[in-house]
Structure formats: structure tokens, C-alpha cells
Point group: C2
Chain length 239, copies 2
């Protein structure tokens, strides 16, 4: 299949390109076309070292979306509206996969002892940072995207729990579960296939798009787990 | 320690009583005192069969909270306000553990094919049910509880991902991770100990109370995973 990865020069884009590039035609999309071309060459070189003949290409986000059958939206939440505006005219009858997570970094005070401060704390007293899911009014980034795509475009939310660094390391087996949300079983089954294309990953159906907020909120949760429990590149398994 | 389990006659209360009753003094709380006494006897009998001498007792929610050092709030979300009103006068300087999850069950339509219906669907077309985290205005049930307890009462959110049936089956090893949220390290460390008291469970610090929404939303997520992927009594591990 032809897969566009919008925001494909970012952390997670590299891993998708290297994993799927072995089997599919990958088009890296970016706001900066030159950067997209440069990383496409870099990804081709890596795959060649692993013995794969590939033809990953790089271009701007709109051209990438236009050329592909499947469009992976792997951009920051604050870039969502302009990028969707840009690609809307060229994604009819295609499948959009959202990896987008709205989250925020905050600071707060955690008391070491049982004297439990409840009064407003001065910022100088903050002693810990944490990440939280920043729920959009519609419940999730995916539900916002749903309002930004043509009627006949299918939408799936998935891959929010993939550690980017491990995904981009082809020597790593990724024995993780990937939650998949969406209202089209046709599109979800195609995404199940893309999950299965990545070493040991297992796709799990979570339900309709309305469940995407629970999946998106796993990303800040995993960041907290890693930071507070001396773990690295954390993902999860449902057992 | 003396541990009150409010709503202790429910599904999850049985497991807590059986697991912690081997080491701690358990007081089952319920709106119906007679029911609490009956299940306490039942739990004692089960533990005796496993060779444990126990003295689990049952009483009303308020008396249970008054007698204990640690109060586990294992009630339904819609019972939260009246129960917290009831126990507020007797929980100063104690530790409250919230297992409460605000969630809702909904119905929707999932299209089997790529014709992707976006128009409002008639209820007769609904073909699937799903559960969602129903985020309270303050972000989580735990943050609501924080507004309902005295200033010197410590609050921790934990145990939202424990499958009740497996917890209540003492033959089962529970090789699961338990996320723990709260603003008092003192209280969290006590809860880490309670997690470690249960076979193979591992406590993970998630962060302050502000992160509780991400943990509470794991419960409806796990229900969806189980229902849609032919799995049973699902929990999770961070790896």
C-alpha cells in the first residue's frame, strides 16, 4: 500500500517508515519539503543496510497525502487544524490514521511526609513535573479530526503507545499491544494489518472513535510511568 | 493495619478482603449493615479454608471508616457524594484510597464496510456497545473526593485495573501493574505496600492526583478490550 506519514520527519515517523518501508511504499510528508527528502534518503540508507530495497520518498504534507491511500497523521496536536485544512481536498475515499495526542506538561507539589499541604502552593515549592491528557471539548484529537475530513474518508486512531526510539531500532522486537479505535471495521482491519506488519505487535479493537480519548490518554500516562519509576521507552500489554 | 473497605460487599471488595485479610484487620462497610456482617463471615470462612486465622468484621460505612486507619472507597461513582458526606466527620488524619471510576455505557454504529456512515444514525441501527470514561468537571473522581475530605486527610487513587474475579480467587497469581496517584508520598508508600501484599502485583507511581483521570479511564478501556477481543478479566502491565 501507499502510506503517507505526515510529520514524518519527527521521532515516530522514522520508526513507521523503517518498519513499513520493508513492505509498503512510504511517502514522508513535512512542512519542509527539503527536510522530508533528506530524511527519506536517510531511511532508505538504513533499510539498505538491513538488506531491503526501498524507495521511501519525501515531499510536502499535501503532496504526500494526495499520493497515498493511507495517511498517518503523526503531527503535534497544535498543528492539527492547519495540516487538516491543507490535506482535506485530497483525502476523499482514503483512510486517515491519527496518532495525535493532546497533552500538557505541568508542575505541582508532592509532599514527602504526612503533613499534607492543601493551601495554594507558591511556584517555588513545586517539586515535580507530570504530564496529563488534555482532553479536547469533543473528547479526543481523533474526534476533532473526524470533523475535519470529508464524509467518505475513513478514520482510525492507533499507535499512541509505541515508544518512538524502539520503533526506529530495527533490532528490537516490540512485544506490545496497540489499541485501535474507529467506526469503520474495514479501515480498522487494514490498520490491524499494519500493526501485524511490525514484529510482535498485537492489535486490539477498543471500539468506536468515541473511545479514542482513553487511548490518547495512554501516551502521557506512559511518560509519567517512565519518568517516575526508572523505566525507559515504556509501552504496555493487556493480559 | 486496620483497613475499612466501603462498598465492601461489592465485587472488588471481596478480593481486597481476602487478599489483605491474611495480614491486616479488615472492616467491611456497607449501606446495609446486615449484608456487611454476612459477607464478613463468608470471607472469614474462605480464608479459614486456606489456613488463615482472620477476624474480618462487617458494619455500616461510617462505623467502618471510623474504626480504620485506611479507608478504601470501593463504591459506585453515583454513590460518592452521600458516602463521603457520611464519613467526612470521622476520617481526619487517615488515608483514603479511591478505586472509584466514573464511566458510562453507550451504543453506536460501526460500519462493517468502507461505506462510512456519518449522518445521524437511528437507534435501530446501533450495532455495538462500548464503555467510556465519563470525565467529571474536576478531571477525575479522585479530584472530586479531594474536595470532600478534611484538610489533613491523605488521598491516593489506585487499584482501578484489578479484575475483581481474579482478585477474589486466591489461587490466582496476579502479575499486574497498579498505577498509584496522589500528592502525599507518605500515603503513596503505604499504598505501594498494600499492592505488594497481593501476590505478584507491582505498584507504579503515576504522579499527583491530577493524573488520576488517566488511571480511572483505564477501567472502561479494559472492559472494551475484554469485550471486543475475546479476552477475560483483562488487566495490564507496563513493559
Amino acid at each position: 500500500m501507499k502510506i503517507a506519514i505526515l510529520g514524518g520527519t519527527g521521532n515516530i515517523g522514522k520508526g513507521f517508515a523503517l518498519r513499513w518501508g520493508q513492505k509498503h511504499e512510504i511517502i514522508i510528508g513535512s512542512r519542509e519539503q527539503d527536510k522530508a527528502k533528506a530524511v527519506a534518503s536517510e531511511y532508505n540508507e538504513i533499510l539498505e543496510k538491513y538488506g531491503h530495497k526501498t524507495s521511501i520518498t519525501g515531499t510536502d504534507n499535501k503532496t504526500a497525502a494526495e499520493k497515498a491511500e493511507i495517511i498517518v497523521v503523526a503531527i503535534r496536536y497544535n498543528q492539527l487544524a492547519p495540516v487538516m485544512d491543507l490535506i482535506r481536498p485530497v483525502i476523499e475515499n482514503k483512510i486517515v490514521i491519527s496518532v495525535v495526542v493532546p497533552m500538557e506538561r505541568n508542575m505541582c507539589y508532592i509532599s514527602p511526609g504526612s503533613s499534607y499541604p492543601r493551601a495554594p502552593i507558591e511556584s517555588k515549592d513545586f517539586n515535580t513535573e507530570y504530564f496529563c491528557f488534555s482532553m479536547p471539548e469533543l473528547g479526543s484529537a481523533a474526534q476533532e479530526i473526524f470533523t475535519m475530513i470529508p464524509d467518505n474518508t475513513e478514520l482510525v486512531a492507533a499507535f499512541h503507545t509505541v515508544p518512538a526510539r524502539k520503533l526506529a531500532n530495527l533490532d528490537m522486537e516490540l512485544d506490545y499491544d496497540i489499541g485501535v479505535c474507529g467506526n469503520s471495521m474495514h479501515a480498522k482491519e487494514i490498520v490491524f494489518g499494519l500493526v501485524n506488519d511490525i514484529s510482535n505487535m498485537r492489535p486490539l479493537d477498543i471500539g468506536p472513535l468515541e473511545t479514542a480519548g482513553m487511548i490518547e490518554s495512554l501516551t502521557p500516562l506512559l511518560i509519567n510511568v517512565a519518568a517516575r519509576n526508572e523505566m525507559k521507552d515504556v509501552s504496555l500489554k493487556f493480559i
